[in-house]
Every structure is written in structure tokens, then in C-alpha cells.
């Protein structure tokens, strides 16, 4: 009998094109997503060497990082942003790569549109010049971020030079308490393993609490694998996965569907497969989470107080905490739920999908955004936006005083006009609370969509469970 293999091992083995004696592998890439910020230099490289795109039909491009989220009909004001978006269109034209342009209803954040279109499928290798590519791992595909040189490599050869990663399994046992979401789960995981805990590993998420998540919740978990240091996060495909994919525009149809389904069912890790590292969490222990510092590992339950340097295990960590508290303008020992906020950002590839917006609407309905709070909702794609409007969610948001915008990355990285002013404090559903991430001097608290909505209506960090 062949040795039991993990989901990762199976995908890896089935994509091996070549293996050198020193263990360096050439692996085949099934799907390549492209956006405007990390691709121009790659296309330029092809042009300079006279190379072409090997499989344009396995490639999909979309502008998302730079696009404005209001007044889009007027085009992009910022000249550099506009050039970058226009350059993407030119490159796609020249190299025959399919593109969802800014005026296409299918446009949106690159990691939202892949699954939405059925471009993302189980068992595949998927890459993008973007570290949150791990999102697609929710479908049981090996999906990871790459640099621009590798983008060029994939465009030209449809392969990548890689060494296999190590296997880690994170099992979340039992059921999540009411009011606790996928976002809280992944923040709690990062709090436990640290931002470098997953370096060198591919993480497989398993256990009842993971299986119980919807596909959208699974995407939220896999999305933030990189914040735990792992290039990829995976969840075994199951009936929920297949149901989600069926009928999507780029999903296999008819006979091919049956054939694909039979294959996908062979993907989950074999009984007895071994992992290089195992972590187990109990879902019942997880509370709504809030970050207090400038690294995603600086996370605490909403009921807790902000830690101080004394909590640090060593000198490096101690000075990091001091630096974070200083940047965040916080005092150790303050309960996090007493921290007032100025801004709320709801959106991003972590939490910009329809279920996230429903969570927000459930809190916003019949309430008002607190005075002095600016609250912005940016749907993950044009299709998410349409769906929300069909359900009447936009009306709830607008009545409550939220700003309802066009799809894009927006204030997740503040490359367009949506950004924090120095010192401004934001409850954000995005994935990075780095210094300056949402605007120079801006202060970010990462939370779930429900928690962000709760902060919007009370004007401070609030346990969403108190509002239901």
C-alpha cells in the first residue's frame, strides 16, 4: 500500500513536472490571477525577451488595488493609479489575457472573483502576485502568493520552481459559540502560533468547527494564513465545496463535472497521513477577537485588557510591544472595549463577501452609526454589490449612516483615495494592522464584520454579542 498522503502531498505530487536531484521541483500551475500592482514589470519582462503568455485562458486579470470606490464613471483622478490600471488593460490586450475591467460587473478584489466565477477549483495549483492568494485554499486547492519575477515565470512557462513545504494541521474542535465567526477563529489561531508560526509550512485546517463553516467562512480562515506566516492554507473539499462551485460560469459542466467531482472526492488527506506539526484549538474557548497592536499576532479577546511590555517573553518582543503601544496610542491595562474609534472599514478579500455584509446588516438594522464615526462598506465585487442590493442590504446600510461604495481593495491598503489620517483609529475587517497600512499614522484594529458594525454604532470597540 502506498504511504498515506495529506491533501497538500496529493496536490503537489499531481503537479510535478520535473524533480532535480537536489529536490528542487518544477510544478505546474493551473490558474494564475493577475492584478495591476504586481504585474506590470512581469509583462515588461516578457516584452523585453520576446516571450509570450503560455496559457492565456488559464490566466485572469482584474484591477482592484488602485480603483476608486466612488464616482467611478469619472475615471481615476490619481495619475499614477490610472497609468497602472491602463497598463494592465494594455498588457492583457497585447498578450491575450482575459480581463474584468473597471466597468465590468464581475470586477472586484482578485481573491473574491476567482471563487465567484468558478475559476478556483479543488485540487488545483493557483497563484497570484499577492500574498492573500491562500484564500483559494478554502476549496482544497494549493494557492499561494508569489513575487513579480515569479509572475513572469508563470506567464511564460505555466510552472514555478519550488521545494515542497512542510505539512501543518490546525484542528479546531467542537462548535463555535454564538456570535463568534470565522474571522475570530483565524485571529485566535494567529494569536496562538504567532506571525511566523507557519513559516515554511502549508497549513491544513481541520476539525468540526472548520467543517461547519460555510465556504465564505472557510475563505476568511484560509485568507489569513499568511498572517500566520504560511504561504498557503487548505481545507479538504466536501459537499459544501461542490455545491458552491456547481453552476458557476467557469466551473466544469455536464460530463466534465462528473469526472471532476470523482477526482475531487479523492483529495482529502488519507487516514493516518502525518503532519510535521499539529496544533489543536477548542472552538468553545474562542471569543470575538480584536487586535490591539501593529502585528496580527497582537490579538486579544474583546473581554480582555491591552497587554503591556511585562507580558513579553524576551527583550525583542518587549521593545516591539512598547513600540506598538506607542504607535497605537494605547495604555497597557485598558480594557479593549473602552477604546473609542473614529472610522470603520468593512470590506477586503478577508471579509468583503455577501455573508459578511449580511452580518453587518443584522447589527446595523434599526441602529445608527455613532456621531463622529465615519463608516464605509466596500463590497468585494460588483456581483456581491448587486446581490446585497437585491437583498435590500444597501438600504439598511444607508439608513444607518454607512457609506455604501464600489468594489475594490480600498482602505485595506489605502492605495486609492480611501485612507486614514494620522492618529485616526479604525475598526477594520481587513487583514493587516501594520504601521501605516491604512494610511500613514493610521491605527487599525482588526475585527470581524459584526464587530466592526458594533463599533460603528457604539463608537467604541464593542462585543457584538451585547447588541443582539
Amino acid at each position: 500500500m502506498p504511504a498515506p498522503r495529506t491533501l497538500f502531498d496529493k496536490i503537489w505530487d499531481s503537479h510535478l513536472v520535473d524533480r532535480q536531484d537536489d529536490g528542487t521541483c518544477l510544478i505546474y500551475i493551473d490558474r494564475h490571477l493577475v492584478h495591476e500592482v504586481t504585474s506590470p514589470q512581469a509583462f515588461e519582462g516578457l516584452r523585453m525577451t520576446g516571450r509570450t503568455v503560455r496559457r492565456p485562458e488559464a490566466t485572469l486579470a482584474v484591477p482592484d488595488h488602485n480603483v476608486p470606490t466612488s464616482g467611478r464613471a469619472q475615471g481615476i483622478d490619481d495619475e499614477e493609479s490610472r497609468i497602472q490600471v491602463e497598463q494592465l488593460s494594455k498588457n492583457c490586450d497585447e498578450f491575450g489575457v482575459p480581463l474584468f475591467g473597471m466597468d465590468d460587473v464581475r470586477q472586484g478584489v482578485v481573491h473574491i472573483i476567482g471563487p465567484e466565477q468558478g475559476f478556483t477549483l479543488p485540487g488545483m495549483t493557483i497563484v497570484c502576485g499577492d500574498s492573500h492568494t491562500a484564500t483559494h485554499g478554502a476549496f482544497g486547492s494549493l494557492a499561494f502568493g508569489i513575487g513579480t519575477s515569479e509572475v513572469e515565470h508563470v506567464l511564460a512557462t505555466q510552472t514555478l520552481i519550488q521545494k515542497p513545504a512542510k505539512n501543518m494541521r490546525i484542528t479546531v474542535e467542537g462548535k463555535l459559540p454564538v456570535g463568534v465567526t470565522a474571522k475570530d477563529m483565524v485571529l485566535a489561531i494567529i494569536g496562538k502560533i504567532g506571525t511566523a508560526g507557519g513559516t515554511g509550512y502549508v497549513i491544513e485546517y481541520a476539525g468540526e468547527a472548520i467543517r461547519d463553516l460555510s465556504m465564505e467562512g472557510r475563505m476568511t480562515v484560509c485568507n489569513m494564513s499568511i498572517e500566520g506566516g504560511a504561504r498557503a492554507g487548505l481545507i479538504a473539499p466536501d459537499e459544501k465545496t461542490f455545491e458552491y462551485i456547481m453552476g458557476r460560469p467557469m466551473a466544469p459542466k455536464a460530463g466534465a463535472w462528473e469526472q471532476a467531482l470523482a477526482y475531487w472526492k479523492t483529495l482529502p488527506s488519507d487516514e493516518g497521513a502525518t503532519y510535521d506539526k499539529e496544533i489543536v484549538l477548542k472552538a468553545a474557548d474562542i471569543e470575538p477577537q480584536v487586535t490591539w497592536g501593529t502585528s496580527p499576532e497582537d490579538v486579544i479577546p474583546v473581554s480582555a485588557a491591552i497587554p503591556g511590555p511585562d507580558a513579553a517573553p524576551d527583550e525583542n518582543k518587549r521593545s516591539a510591544i512598547e513600540r506598538s503601544l506607542d504607535y497605537m496610542g494605547l495604555t497597557a491595562g485598558t480594557p479593549i472595549s473602552e477604546v473609542p474609534i473614529d472610522t470603520v472599514f468593512i470590506g477586503s478579500c478577508t471579509n468583503g463577501r455577501i455573508e459578511d455584509l449580511r452580518e453587518v446588516a443584522a447589527v446595523a438594522k434599526g441602529r445608527k452609526v455613532a456621531e463622529n464615526v465615519r463608516a464605509m462598506i466596500v463590497p468585494g465585487s460588483g456581483l456581491v454589490k448587486n446581490q446585497a442590493e437585491e437583498e435590500g442590504l444597501d438600504q439598511i446600510f444607508i439608513e444607518a449612516g454607512f457609506d455604501w461604495r464600489e468594489p475594490g481593495c480600498s482602505m485595506c491598503l489605502a492605495m486609492n483615495a480611501d485612507k486614514l489620517a494620522p492618529g485616526e483609529r479604525c475598526a477594520s475587517t481587513s487583514n493587516r494592522n501594520f504601521e501605516g497600512r491604512q494610511g500613514r499614522g493610521g491605527r487599525t484594529h482588526l475585527v470581524s464584520p459584526g464587530m466592526a458594525a458594533a463599533a460603528a454604532v457604539t463608537g467604541r470597540i464593542t462585543d457584538v454579542r451585547e447588541l443582539s
Binding site: 500592482v37 514589470q41 477549483l121 499577492d130 506571525t195
Partner: protein, 200 residues
């Protein structure tokens, strides 16, 4: 890509942990469609205040103006995959980075640009950090062939590196060219897949 074999240069200390790629080069510098000229944005927010005036920053001190080696903290290069980070470092003349650990994507991106990232145990990085603190006397030699670092006092430390990556770096090899030479293998892989997974 420039070859990397042996480098003798000033090493600059940057003793912070978890330096992310947003910190190495913030987003406003990502709007370029070129690979060059990015040193302008390198560590921009550590280097300038909110009005754009220069703050004290190690790479701007006279002793470190010509530094080509950076000694820094754990988990260097975490966060965004932006290759603008190594491009900016390279544009500022940095060819080698020494830290207790690196984030995966950044580590990989370095090799594509002729930068050598060296991971060493914390105690050894601490010693090199002290060496790097000596200003214009902080000259270190990094010998890739021998996989050895020589400090200002002549003490040596050896380091690990993947053999294939070393080979590519020492010879300045272009990955795409290497892979293109395996075109037939890619062709036959695609042929097989067309039969077994026609939907892919």
C-alpha cells in the same frame, strides 16, 4: 541579474522584529510600472516624518551611506508579496540581509534579484548586530562560495543555503531561461493532463 559571489561591505544594524514589506516600501511607491528607482521609498516612514523631513535613520548616517549588508530582526519581510521590497533594497545598494528568520515570499523574492538573505541563529545575529553597530568599522565579508561570514575582528560564522539557489546566485542565472529549457517536459505534462483532467 547580477552575480553574487563574495561581498566585503559595511553592515548596517536595524534591530526591529517583524519588519513587514509595507514598512520596507509603503504603498504609495507601488504605483510604478518599473523595477528601478525604488530606493526613494525604502523604509520611507522610518526615514521621514509626516511632513517628509528626514528623521534619524541608520541608512542615512554617514557611516552607513554605503552599507550593502543589513543586519536585522526576526521574521524580516513578512506581509505583502510585493517584490518592490527587494527592488527598493537593491536600488539602495543592499545585496545581503542577515536575520534570525525571513518570511517565505520575501526570502524567495531576494534570490530572483541577486540579493542573498542569510538566516542565522539569534545569538549569532546578536553578535553581528553588535559588529554592525561599529559605524564605519562595521565591515563584514560574506563569501557565498564558502558559505561563510567574516566579522570585523576576523571571527567567522558559517551559514546554510540551498544548493540550487546558491548555484543560480553565483552564476546570475535567470530562472525563466532554465525552465524554458525544460519545455518538452512541460508539453508532455500538459498532454497527460488534457486526458486525465480535461476541465483543468
Amino acid at each position: 541579474m547580477d552575480k553574487f559571489d563574495k561581498l566585503t561591505a559595511t553592515a548596517a544594524p536595524l534591530p526591529l522584529v517583524n519588519i513587514d514589506t509595507d514598512m520596507i516600501i509603503p504603498k504609495q511607491f507601488l504605483k510604478t510600472i518599473k523595477r528601478t528607482g525604488l530606493s526613494e521609498g525604502l523604509f520611507y516612514e522610518l526615514r521621514t516624518d509626516e511632513q517628509g523631513n528626514a528623521k534619524d535613520f541608520v541608512l542615512d548616517e554617514p557611516a552607513y551611506k554605503d552599507a550593502q549588508i543589513l543586519v536585522t530582526g526576526d521574521n524580516f519581510g513578512c506581509g505583502s508579496s510585493r517584490e518592490h521590497a527587494p527592488w527598493a533594497l537593491l536600488d539602495a545598494g543592499i545585496r545581503c540581509i542577515i536575520a534570525p528568520s525571513f518570511a517565505d515570499i520575501f526570502y524567495n523574492n531576494c534570490f530572483k534579484n541577486g540579493i542573498l538573505p542569510i538566516a542565522l541563529p539569534q545569538e549569532q545575529v546578536d553578535l553581528l548586530m553588535d559588529d554592525a553597530g561599529r559605524g564605519s568599522n562595521a565591515v563584514i565579508t560574506v563569501d557565498l562560495e564558502k558559505q561563510e561570514i567574516t566579522g570585523p575582528d576576523g571571527g567567522t560564522v558559517s551559514f546554510e543555503i540551498d544548493a540550487f539557489r546558491k548555484h543560480c546566485l553565483m552564476n546570475g542565472l535567470d530562472d525563466i531561461g532554465l525552465t524554458m529549457a525544460k519545455g518538452e517536459k512541460i508539453d508532455s505534462f500538459e498532454e497527460r493532463r488534457k486526458l486525465s483532467q480535461p476541465w483543468a
